[in-house]
Amino acid sequence: MHIIQIFLILFVLFAVYKTGVRLRKKEMTASQFIFWCVVWAAIAAAALFPEWTTVVANRFGVGRGTDFLLYLSVALLLYTSFKLTVRVQKLDRDLTKVVRRDALDTTKK
């Protein structure tokens, strides 16, 4: 077993533990918990049996499993940052509304 595999397995165990904690604190629904467990399990599977990812990658027309995972994660990260930017803009506007109302109300008195 390679060191990277040990690291990844340890990471997955840690992530599953954290997910479980959040479920216990009721910060997460059962379906969310299952979703994340599937994600972690997929990462563990990819770490333990890297050749499987290549099989999947070839189905999609990508040569290597690691490349395929990299493409997927870049796409996911880009999408996440896009979503966050838009979300922050919306929060900005909401905050402005509150600050504006406060400014206008304070002067009326």
Binding site: Q89, D92, R93, T96, V99, R100, A103, L104, T106, T107
Partner: protein, 214 residues
């Protein structure tokens, strides 16, 4: 600040001055109050666009007939307000937009244009004009000029959602979309600092692009 406020009051008794303190931590608000202006305070810094919208809403609530957007840092000249108001009376339109470049035809205009930093005149402005045109469809002699004179009806229709500097492009876009009549009027701009540079420009572009999704 005090000087700017007083120079506007000097234009006539019907003038009322509102200063929006956008969460500043210095004594700007006190200086403005001391010189007789009404001061509204944003408890958290929200940007120039947000401050203008707040100020405009206050002015409408106070029954203003004409609203002038005017920078408080002393870069504009109060007499240009008088000139613009006269123009508005003689040739009514919904909104007047200040332009640094029309000043060529006024007395001290050429001199004022000379004071615009070279890279701003020949590099940033041409690009800014093109971006402005791409987003709004209006080809103006000047963009991102903070001097505006809004009739009451125009101020009621325009709503600034861009808190930052992109509000300028937004206002021009709304003028076109709402079919408001407008005219550019010459104003003098005294450059004390460089103002918005290239980074500011990119920030505006980013704000405009992302706002399509928000």
């Amino acid at each position: 600040m005090g000087e700017t406020v007083r120079s506007i009051f000097a234009l006539g008794e019907e003038m009322r001055v509102l200063v929006v303190d956008d969460g500043s931590s210095d004594n700007t608000a006190d200086a403005a109050t001391f010189s007789g202006a009404t001061v509204l305070r944003h408890s958290v810094n929200r940007g120039q666009g947000a401050a203008l919208q707040t100020g405009t809403e206050w002015a409408l609530a106070e029954g203003a007939e004409v609203i002038v957007h005017f920078d408080a840092d002393g870069q504009f000249v109060a007499e240009d307000i008088a000139t613009a108001l006269t123009r508005l009376q003689e040739f009514p339109s919904d909104i007047l937009l200040g332009s640094r470049y029309l000043s060529f035809w006024s007395r001290s205009g050429a001199e004022a244009i000379e004071s615009i930093p070279i890279t701003k005149r020949y590099v940033l402005f041409p690009i800014a004009r093109m971006v402005n045109w791409a987003f709004t469809g209006l080809w103006l002699t000047d963009v991102h000029n903070g001097f505006r004179v809004l009739s009451r009806s125009a101020a009621e229709k325009i709503f600034i959602t861009h808190d930052g500097m992109a509000h300028n492009t937004e206002i021009i876009g709304q003028i076109r979309r709402l079919g408001l009549s407008f005219e550019e009027v010459p104003v003098r701009v005294r450059y004390r600092t460089y103002g918005q540079g290239l980074r500011g420009g990119f920030k505006i572009l980013g704000d405009l692009l992302f706002s399509w999704f928000a």
